[in-house]
Symmetry: C2
Subunit: 210 residues, 2 copies
């Protein structure tokens, strides 16, 4: 049995048809190259060459590059969902500590990675949210999902008194998204995880506390 | 006398040679198109066509697209410097209020603009900081400049007791950069200025206060 990992999603490769296998490989390769070179910096030819299929066949799998990108955003967001759920479940039971632990675990992955990709959704938002309404809507949906999970933890922390409750759960969650995404951009500009570590430290040592 | 405005930099067009005039037009056009479509989404041909010069002549002005982009980052950052200095000088004398007023004035410009560009440096950082070390270094320099000005106001506010001083000036300034840039990304994803307005509200109503 061949088990292939795409981030934290395990796929039993024997159970799926060759067509679906190629589709997954195209998405995995696109995800990696978009992370490194962005949407416009990645050519379809580059992707099909890596996967080893002819360029024309790409359009048997995806209607267009835009359609492909919408699927990549979904693929990335699903992978991230599984990863966040795992991290939060394995972490401390107190919500503020569980959130902090998850952010710190993700930072340590960025630290180990030579390419400082940051967040694919933040990167694509910066590059193409004006150019593709379809991708923008998909990114919006992905961030709503992510924030729902964070908001659940924030609300529990507020109810327990470990997170400040003079600011609404929704506003705190939006703020965490902003600070985190900005911290990842700062990491990219400084080519160092220090800015995003410092960002998480201030959030959790000061701003989220009651 | 012809006065042309590039953001808030006024250039006396009579005093400069036609070659420099074309150079400035190439930078202005590049700045606008990079803001809309990003680095890889903007072709040199598109830029020279808008300015009305042959494609080959582009390389009389700039060594390469990368070199051009380095100059655009400098051009944007200089324009922003003038703008921030004006906003801060015209604002309230108390440093926290002066900063808040400047951020709010800039948000109102984003609100009036149909294209939600956000911050060119944040956008290019997301797209090309891995691909171009030259551009990354230039962006880093630009953010250091920007943060120096903000840090000056933060330090004054801390000395006056209107800004919290249990966190270092440097750490607060870095955090403001992160939150602001993330707020602008959030604006792009949601196609609305509400997220960045809320971000500034939380920073100034809560997190920066003593």
């Amino acid at each position: 049995m061949i088990i292939e990992t795409t981030g934290h999603i395990f796929i039993l490769m024997e159970k799926i048809t060759p067509k679906i296998q190629i589709r997954i490989k195209l998405l995995q390769t696109g995800l990696r190259l978009f992370g490194k070179n962005g949407y416009n910096g990645t050519g379809i030819k580059e992707i099909v060459d890596e996967v080893g299929v002819p360029k024309g066949s790409f359009y048997n799998y995806f209607k267009s590059k835009e359609d492909f990108t919408v699927e990549i955003i979904g693929f990335y967001s699903d992978t991230l969902d599984v990863h966040w759920n795992e991290l939060l479940a394995k972490g401390p039971s107190e919500p503020l500590a569980a959130l902090r632990n998850s952010f710190e675990m993700i930072i340590s992955l960025h630290e180990q990675s030579e390419v400082k990709t940051g967040c694919l959704i933040g990167n694509l938002a910066a590059e193409i949210s004006e150019a593709s309404e379809l991708c923008r809507q998909k990114m919006r949906g992905a961030t709503i999902n992510w924030k729902k999970r964070i908001a659940g933890y924030i609300a529990r922390g507020q109810a327990m008194g470990t997170i400040r409750n003079d600011i609404s759960t929704r506003a705190l969650t939006e703020f965490i998204w902003n600070a985190w995404e900005g911290g990842l951009l700062n990491m990219k500009i400084q080519a160092s995880t220090t800015p995003v570590k410092e960002c998480v430290r201030l959030l959790f040592d000061f701003f989220l506390k009651p």
